[in-house]
Amino acid sequence: MNGEIQPMMMVVVALIVFGIGLFGLLIRKNLLIMLMCIELMLNSVNLCFVAFSKMHQSVLGDLTVLFVMTVAAAESAVGLGLVIAMFRTLKSVDTDQIQILRD
């Protein structure tokens, strides 16, 4: 009422962002964009943590965000490495190229 954003609203926004990330992950064929979508999902969760941190008046959530960001960075590094390796072999970063393993 006083103009301050309600924590639950933040959570809803975070969920929407999560959904966007998920949607992107599911429909985009480019691996780099998929990587970014995963980052988006992780960041939406960060938003969540912040919101709940605010709700509970606790710093735990804020702290967690820091950890998550670190991990996300490491993850994208690994992911990029894998994508590069793939590009070297297949000359492509399209997920349609990687359907050899099946059944």
């Binding site: 599911l26 429909i27 997920t95 359907q99 099946r102 059944d103």
Partner: protein, 619 residues
Amino acid sequence: MNLSYLILLPLFGFLINGVLYLRSTRNSKKVSAELSGGIATVAMLLSFAAALYNFFLLRQLPAEGQLFDQMLFPWFKLAGMSVDFTLRLDPLSSVFCLVITGVGSLIHLYSIGYMHHDAAPAKYFAYLNLFCFMMLNLVLGATMPHVFFGWEGVGLASYLLIGYWYHDPEKVGAGMKAFVMNRIGDIGFLVAMFIAYKFVGSLDFIQIANTPLNPEMTTTLGLLVFFACTGKSAQIPLFTWLPDAMAGPTPVSALIHAATMVTSGIYLLARMHTTIEASATTLSVIAAVGACTAFISAVIACAQTDIKKILAYSTVSQLGFMFVACGVGFTIAGVFHVMTHAFFKALMFLGAGSVIHALHEEQDVFKMGGLRKKLPITFWTFVAGWAAILGLPPFSGFFSKDEILIQSLQSPHGSMPLFLVMMAAAFLTAFYMTRLLVLVFLSPSRMGQGVEKSVHESPLVMTLPLMVLGVASVVGGWFGLPIHEAHVEEAAGSSGRFIMLASVALALVAAFIAYKKYGKTTKVEQVNDIAREGFKIDAFYLSFFGNGTKNVARWMGNLIEQQVIQRMIRWTVAIVDLSGNLLKVAQVGSSQAYLMMMFLAIFAVLAWFLFGVGQYAKF
């Protein structure tokens, strides 16, 4: 009194001959018929001596207690069922023992000559001794399982001897048929034993006789026992094996399929006569079956051309007479007829054997004729047998057969229709027997040139038994049975005397007709095919039961086993395989498809969950 020698001697004979035979197969030296036959015959003669000795010892016992039990060893004992291996000698079994060992010894002796040229006489004599051992067990056993032991044992020996020349599949088949039909009858014996165990609690004959049962069970028990007897004694419906059993050596036919084994049905009925006679239904069934068998097989016998087949059907017919005696409640008369029949039928078979031997295995009566001069001893002894079976006084058959005829009318269970059928059967008997005699011995010769020249009378070992049996056929009926005397006077009533005269007259008429018809025969006679083939009963059994079983089995094998059970197994495997392949479909290889499915699953879980917990959370 020691009965063990009685049965052990043939057993030893069997073992010695068996070992001799097996040894001969290793060193390929034939054991001569004289040696093996000598051993076997001596064993049988000694056994006969023991039987005779025991018979006289038994006679010395008081009339009420003429019974002797000898327990050899306990057989089996389990949870209330206890059976011992016990030999029991009483007047009934002693008569049978005498017949078996007496006629048996003669036939053993005869076989030495008959089997002289056989490849392995030791085997033959081993089987023959085995048969006698089993037969003695059958008549001496004090309990049903013990009798069953002998019962199956004689069936086995019969199988082995019918299929003795086993390189001929037809003979093998005949043996198999005999054994299987006997076993069909054995089901009756087995179930009778189960019933006896259930309702009497013991399988000892005395216990069974002394324990009153309710009427249904008495009837059932009696009928089951009778069913067993129809198998062993070749009565309707299980009589078709006996004519085929003639595939065996002729002495075997004489011993097993005329004198002894086939009469074990009568023995069993006599042994269990208390139970049998306690039920009028059982009695009438037995009498009806016996009369039908007697008549039908007599008709069939009239149409046969094989000398042994004629005798075989005659045996079936005579057994029918005996069963009628049992069926009208005069088992004793049946047993008496067993004894006389043993003499004259064994005699005729041996005579037939002598003829066949002389004619080099020729069995068709229309290819014989005029043998009276060539085989004088055989002829005259055969005539004695013929007179006996016709029931001409004073031959033995007259006493036993006429008593049966009289009883079939006069006994409380007898009746006029029964009597008339029996008279008809007696008439036919006289007819076909005369036909046989005439065709073989009296009519002009129809033998081939080569055969006719080489015909000669058999050696002494073969004619001696013929002569002994010929004498027995004449005098065998004069003394009656030791257990029998009480009934003789009854037979001498005025109507009885009339029946005697009538039957003798009838026999003579039949003999005359046969003589007129066949006395001048010079060529093969055209006979009714239906009758010759035994009214196709055998063919019917073969196609209905034999092929029926085969077809059911094949149907089971193809349809149930292959199409249902094995297919069920295959289908189970196929279903598992198919479901594996179906479940594999989801594994499309695209990571985004995987992600899609995973997240759908997550949403599904969450949705279901929230809904579900909401349901629970209400409380």
